[in-house]
C-alpha cells in the first residue's frame, strides 16, 4: 500500500523565469478518487502558475467544503491556503484581498459549495468585482456525501443511483453574467489545452474572473445517463474557439500560432489571442447569455471564453483602498492622531 509519491523527477524538466520547474508548484498527493476531474483541474492550475512564473509564496488559495474544496492541498504546496466554512469562501477571500492586495487569489469551489449553500456569497462576490480567480469544479453531484444530485445537475440527468433529476439546473456562467461578472468562461477538466490559458487569463484579469469547469465525478456521476460524464461532455462539447494567453513580459515569438481573429489586452498589459468565429463578440454580455442559452437548447455545452471586460473597476478601485498591505502599515499610519481626527470631523460639519 502506498500513498507515497517518489521524489525523483524528470532530469530535464523545463524551468520558468524564476528557475522553478512545474514540480515546484505541486502540492501533496491527492486523496480524491482515481480519475477525478478535480485532479486534472489541479494539474491545470499547476501548469498555469508555472507558465506565468508566479512566485508560489505570492498566491493565496481559498476554498470551502467538498471534494473540490479539498484540492488546494494538492497544488501549490508552497502557497498560502485557507479552507473556509462551507460556502463562505468568498467572504474570507474578500477579507484577505482587502488586507493584502499584493497576492494572487485563487478560489476553488464546487457546485454544492457555490450553487447551493454558498449561492448568496457567490452572488455578492460577483457584484463587488473582487480581484480574484474563482473556479467551480462542477460535477453535478455531491460526491463527498455519496453522490446526491446537486443544483447544477440537468433535468433528466441520472447519477449512479439511476433516478433522473427532476429540478432545473442553475447555470453558474449565466448567473455570473447576469450579476455583472467581468470575466466569464466555461471549460472541461479533460481539456487542458483550453483550460490552462483560461486560468492564466483569469489570473491576469483585474476583477472577478469566473471559470465553470465541468469536472466529472468518476465514482458517482460518470454514468451513461449523466450529462456530466466524460463521454457525454466530450460528445456534446461546443467551443467559442481556442485561445492563447500572452503574458505581458513575454516577447511575442513564433511560439504562438498565427491567425487569431481577435486580441484582447488585459489591464496589466497581457494579451489574449482568440481564435474564434468573427461574429462572436466576447465583449457583449447579452450575446454571451444568448449563446449559452442557444447551445443549451441545441443540447450542447458551450465552452471557452464567454465574456470579458478588461477595464472594469474592481473592489479596490471602488473602495479606494490603500495600496499597501495592512500588515505593512505602521501605528503612525493607522492612528494618525487627534489632529487628523479633528480634520476629518471638521470636513463633515
Amino acid at each position: 500500500m502506498t500513498y507515497i509519491r517518489p521524489n525523483f523527477r524528470h532530469p530535464a524538466l523545463p524551468r520558468n523565469e524564476l528557475g522553478y520547474t512545474r514540480r515546484d508548484y505541486e502540492g501533496a498527493l491527492s486523496t480524491l478518487c482515481a480519475g477525478c476531474g478535480h485532479d486534472s483541474v489541479s494539474g491545470a492550475i499547476i501548469q498555469a502558475c508555472f507558465e506565468l512564473a508566479i512566485p508560489p509564496h505570492r498566491v493565496g488559495k481559498l476554498s470551502g467544503i467538498g471534494c473540490s474544496s479539498k484540492t488546494p492541498t494538492y497544488f501549490l504546496g508552497r502557497s498560502h491556503g485557507f479552507n473556509t466554512v462551507h460556502g463562505r469562501m468568498p467572504s474570507v477571500a474578500t477579507g484577505a484581498a482587502l488586507a493584502n492586495r499584493e497576492l494572487v487569489y485563487i478560489g476553488v469551489s464546487g457546485d454544492g459549495d457555490t450553487a447551493s449553500i454558498g449561492l448568496g456569497q457567490f452572488a455578492h462576490v460577483i457584484r463587488r468585482n473582487l480581484d480574484m480567480l474563482y473556479i467551480v469544479e462542477n460535477n453535478g453531484c455531491y460526491g463527498l456525501t455519496k453522490g446526491q444530485d446537486s443544483a447544477t445537475a440537468d433535468v433528466g440527468s441520472a447519477s449512479k443511483k439511476g433516478v433522473p433529476n427532476p429540478y432545473p439546473p442553475i447555470d453558474l456562467c449565466a448567473m455570473a453574467l447576469d450579476l455583472g461578472a467581468t470575466f466569464v468562461a466555461r471549460s472541461f477538466s479533460g481539456d487542458k489545452r483550453q483550460l490552462v490559458p483560461l486560468i492564466k487569463a483569469g489570473i491576469a484579469h483585474r476583477g472577478f474572473a469566473f471559470i465553470d469547469v465541468i469536472s466529472p465525478c468518476v465514482t458517482f456521476n460518470n454514468t451513461p445517463q449523466s450529462t456530466k460524464s466524460y463521454d457525454y461532455v466530450r460528445e456534446h462539447l461546443a467551443s467559442t474557439g481556442t485561445l492563447d494567453f500572452v503574458p505581458v513580459r513575454q516577447e511575442i515569438t513564433a511560439d504562438y500560432e498565427a491567425g487569431y481573429t481577435e486580441e484582447v489586452t488585459l489591464h496589466d498589459g497581457s494579451v489574449i489571442h482568440l481564435y474564434k468565429e468573427p461574429d462572436l463578440d466576447v465583449h457583449d454580455r447579452h450575446a454571451a447569455l444568448r449563446a449559452i442559452r442557444e447551445h443549451k437548447e441545441a443540447g450542447r455545452i458551450l465552452t471557452g471564453l464567454l465574456y470579458v471586460d478588461p477595464d472594469s473597476a474592481d473592489l479596490h478601485e471602488v473602495l479606494q483602498t490603500v495600496k499597501t498591505p495592512l500588515r505593512d502599515l505602521t501605528a503612525k499610519e493607522l492612528c494618525p492622531g487627534s489632529r487628523a481626527l479633528d480634520a476629518i470631523n471638521a470636513s463633515k460639519r
Binding site: 507515497i4 509519491r5 521524489n7 525523483f8 524538466l13 480519475g35 485532479d39 468518476v218 466524460y230 466530450r234
Partner: protein, 598 residues
C-alpha cells in the same frame, strides 16, 4: 504512429535496461527482489541458470548492466547489480542449492561432443548439454578447469574456492575431463568419433612490444601480462622486483599492477598511452588500483627499454596528447616535450591479447577471415565446418566472461539442434510471462515505493592486510542488511506499465500523477521524431522506446516515453478504469535444456 505491439517480447525486454544490456540477459530485477526478500537460494538459481557463474561474476563481471541501469538516469549512480549478485552467492545454502541442481543424465543419448578449452564458454556448453544425455569430453592444457577465470583473475579478486565450487557444479554433471592435455590438431579430433566439436580456447596470446628498442636485451626483466598472471596463479612466480612498470590501460593491466604490489613491488606504476578517461579498464578497477598506492600515468607512449650492463634500468616514454578529428577519431600527437624516463627493475606488458589457432589445420573446412578469426554464423556460432562450433573469446575476439557464457548458451542450442537433425537456424523463442501485480487499490505484489538511498559502498579489507597476501580477498561483499538497502534501490523495471486503449476515458489522471512526466495524450504524428517533440518532458534519449497506445475516443494517442519511468505504479493506482496495469514481465533466454526447478 502505429500502436506499440506489446506481444513482441522484445519491446518490454528493452524496457528492462539491465537485462537487455546483459549479454546473457539475466533477469536482474527478478533476482534483486528475491535478495530483498532474503531468498538467496532462488536468487542464486536464477543467476546460475542464466549466467552459470554467479559467485565468479558477482566479483568479476564487466557489468554492462550497470551503465544501462535506469536508476543512473534519475539518480546519481546505478544499482550495484554486480555486488548484489555476489550477495546471492555468498548467502546461499550450499546443501539446498545442490539438491536443486540438475543431475547427470542417467541414460546417455549416444552422441559425443568434444569441448576444447575449459573456460567459461566450454563450461557453459557442457552444463547446457549434460542434462540432455550428451557424452561430453572437456580438454584443457591446465590441471584444472576455469580457463582465464583461473589464470587471469587474481585470487584477491576471486578466491579459488569460489571458482572451484562453481566449476564443480558443471564437472559433476558427468563431464569427462582431459586436463593437462593440449589439443594439437583439430583434424585428429575430427577423425575421432566426436559428433560435434566446440572450440572455446579464448584469446591466449598476449601482445608484445617486439620492435621497441632494447626489448631483446631487456627480455629477462620483461613479462607478458596474461602469461605472468597465469604463472602467479599456478604458483610458478612468487615475487617481483621493487620497482615495476605496468604498460597498458585495460583490466589486465590493473590486475597485473595490483598483483605486483602483493609480490614485493613497492614502487609500481601503470603507464598508458591514452588519456586516463579513455582507458579500457573499468572505472572501479582503476579506482581499486589507485587506492593501493599505484599511480596511473597517462598520455605516455613507450619508446625504449633502457638497459645498462645487461640490466634493465628503466623505460623512456614520449609524451603525447589526444587530438580528435571531425568524426571523433583519436590520434595521439607528441607534445614535443623531452622524453620522460622512469626507472624500473621489471616491466609487465599488458596491452591486449590476440586470438591464435595454431592447432587448427587450415584444410579441415574451418575458414578464417583476414584477422585470423573463424568465419562464423553470428547467431548459431557454427563455423564453415558444420561439425565445429566456436564461442567465447575464440569466436569474435577478446570480450569478457559474461559474453563467453552467452555464446556458450547459443552454441549449445546449435549443437543440440544439429545433432537432433534439425536446422540450427530453428532457434527457440524466449520464454516470457506477463502477469498483473495488482492486489488491491493501492497494493501491488512488488514493493513499488521508490527509495531515495544513494548507492552503498562495498567494504574493503584493510589495505595493509590485503597487500601482504595475494590470496586475501579485497572486497568483503555486502552484509545482508546493506544488501537489502541496496536491493531496495532497484526500480523494478520488469514490472511493466501495460496500457489498454479500449478502457481509457482520457481523464488525465495518469498524466497528472506521473512523477517523471512520462505519459502524454497527444494528437498523432506520422513519425517518431515529430512525436517526441510534442511530449511534456524532453524525450531526447533515442535509445529508449516510446510506448504508443490508441487511437483513443478523441482521436488522440497515448504516448509514454519509457526513458525515466520509475515503475512506481502511480499511473495504475490513479487510473479509474484499469486502463493502466502493472504487469511483471519475465523474459528468459531459452537454453538447450530445462535446468532447474525455480
Amino acid at each position: 504512429m502505429k500502436p506499440t505491439d506489446i506481444r513482441d517480447p522484445e519491446f518490454f525486454h528493452r524496457v528492462i535496461d539491465c537485462q537487455y544490456a546483459c549479454p546473457a540477459h539475466t533477469p536482474v530485477p527478478e533476482y534483486i527482489r528475491l535478495i530483498a526478500q532474503g531468498r538467496y537460494d532462488e536468487a542464486y538459481l536464477i543467476n546460475w541458470e542464466s549466467n552459470v557463474f554467479p559467485g565468479v561474476l558477482g566479483r568479476t563481471c564487466d557489468r554492462p548492466c550497470e551503465p544501462a541501469c535506469r536508476r543512473g538516469r534519475v539518480d546519481e549512480e546505478p544499482v550495484a547489480i554486480c555486488r548484489l549478485k555476489r550477495v546471492a552467492a555468498d548467502y546461499r545454502n550450499e546443501e539446498r542449492i545442490r539438491a536443486r541442481l540438475p543431475k547427470a543424465h542417467r541414460r546417455k543419448n549416444g552422441k559425443k561432443v568434444a569441448l576444447v578449452g575449459a573456460g567459461p564458454a566450454s563450461l557453459t556448453v557442457a552444463r547446457d548439454l549434460a542434462p540432455l544425455g550428451y557424452e561430453l569430453h572437456l580438454f584443457d592444457d591446465q590441471a584444472k578447469a576455469g580457463g582465464f577465470m583461473r589464470s587471469q583473475i587474481p585470487a584477491f579478486r576471486l578466491p579459488e574456492e569460489v571458482l572451484d565450487t562453481e566449476v564443480g557444479y558443471i564437472l559433476e554433471l558427468g563431464v569427462v575431463t582431459h586436463f593437462k592435455r593440449y589439443v594439437e590438431s583439430l583434424r585428429e579430433l575430427l577423425e575421432a568419433d566426436y559428433d560435434a566439436i566446440f572450440v572455446g580456447t579464448g584469446a591466449p596470446r598476449g601482445r608484445d612490444l617486439k620492435n621497441l628498442p632494447g626489448r631483446k636485451e631487456a627480455d629477462p626483466y620483461v613479462h607478458i601480462g596474461i602469461e605472468w598472471l597465469a604463472s602467479v596463479a599456478f604458483g610458478h612466480v612468487e615475487s617481483i622486483a621493487k620497482r615495476v612498470i605496468v604498460l597498458g590501460g585495460g583490466n589486465t593491466a590493473m590486475d597485473c599492477c595490483r598483483t605486483a604490489r602483493r609480490l614485493g613491488g613497492e614502487d609500481v606504476k601503470v603507464i598508458v598511452r591514452s588519456p586516463f578517461a579513455e582507458m579500457k579498464a573499468s572505472p572501479w578497477e582503476k579506482e581499486d588500483a589507485m587506492n593501493e598506492g599505484i599511480p596511473i600515468i597517462d598520455n605516455h607512449v613507450p619508446k625504449e627499454f633502457v638497459v645498462e650492463n645487461g640490466r634493465l634500468v628503466g623505460m623512456r616514454f614520449e609524451k603525447v596528447r589526444a587530438v580528435y578529428d571531425d568524426e571523433g577519431r583519436r590520434s595521439l600527437v607528441p607534445t614535443g616535450e623531452p622524453p620522460a624516463f622512469y626507472p624500473c627493475d621489471e616491466v609487465i606488458i599488458a596491452i591486449g591479447q590476440e586470438n591464435a589457432f595454431p592447432w587448427i589445420e587450415r584444410d579441415v573446412g574451418v575458414v578464417f577471415d583476414k584477422w585470423g578469426l573463424p568465419v562464423l554464423d553470428k547467431e548459431t556460432f557454427q563455423s564453415t565446418n558444420p561439425k565445429v562450433f566456436f564461442g567465447g573469446d575464440a569466436a569474435f575476439g577478446p570480450a569478457n566472461i559474461i559474453t563467453a557464457v552467452a555464446h556458450g548458451h547459443q552454441a549449445a542450442i546449435s549443437i543440440h539442434l544439429f545433432l537432433s537433425g534439425r536446422s540450427v537456424h530453428d532457434r527457440p523463442p524466449p520464454q516470457v510471462n506477463l502477469v498483473s501485480q495488482k492486489m488491491g487499490i493501492h497494493e501491488w505484489s512488488y514493493d513499488n515505493e521508490v527509495d531515495d538511498d544513494d548507492r552503498y559502498r562495498v567494504p574493503h579489507a584493510d589495505l595493509e592486510v590485503a597487500l601482504r597476501d595475494r590470496r586475501v580477498e579485497v572486497e568483503l561483499g555486502f552484509d545482508p542488511a546493506t544488501a537489502y538497502r541496496e536491493a531496495e534501490r532497484c526500480l523494478n523495471c520488469d514490472v511493466q506499465t501495460v496500457f489498454t486503449a479500449e478502457r481509457c476515458i482520457e481523464c488525465d489522471a495518469c498524466v497528472d500523477i506521473c512523477p517523471t512526466d512520462c505519459i502524454n495524450f497527444v494528437e498523432d504524428e506520422e513519425d517518431e521524431a515529430a512525436l517526441r517533440k510534442k511530449l511534456r518532458a524532453p524525450a531526447d534519449n533515442l535509445d529508449q522506446p516510446l510506448y504508443v497506445g490508441g487511437p483513443l475516443k478523441t482521436g488522440r494517442i497515448m504516448v509514454k516515453d519509457e526513458n525515466v519511468c520509475l515503475h512506481c505504479g502511480l499511473c495504475a493506482e490513479r487510473c479509474p478504469t484499469a486502463a493502466w496495469d502493472m504487469q511483471k514481465f519475465l523474459y528468459n533466454v531459452t537454453k538447450a535444456a530445462p535446468l532447474c526447478s525455480l
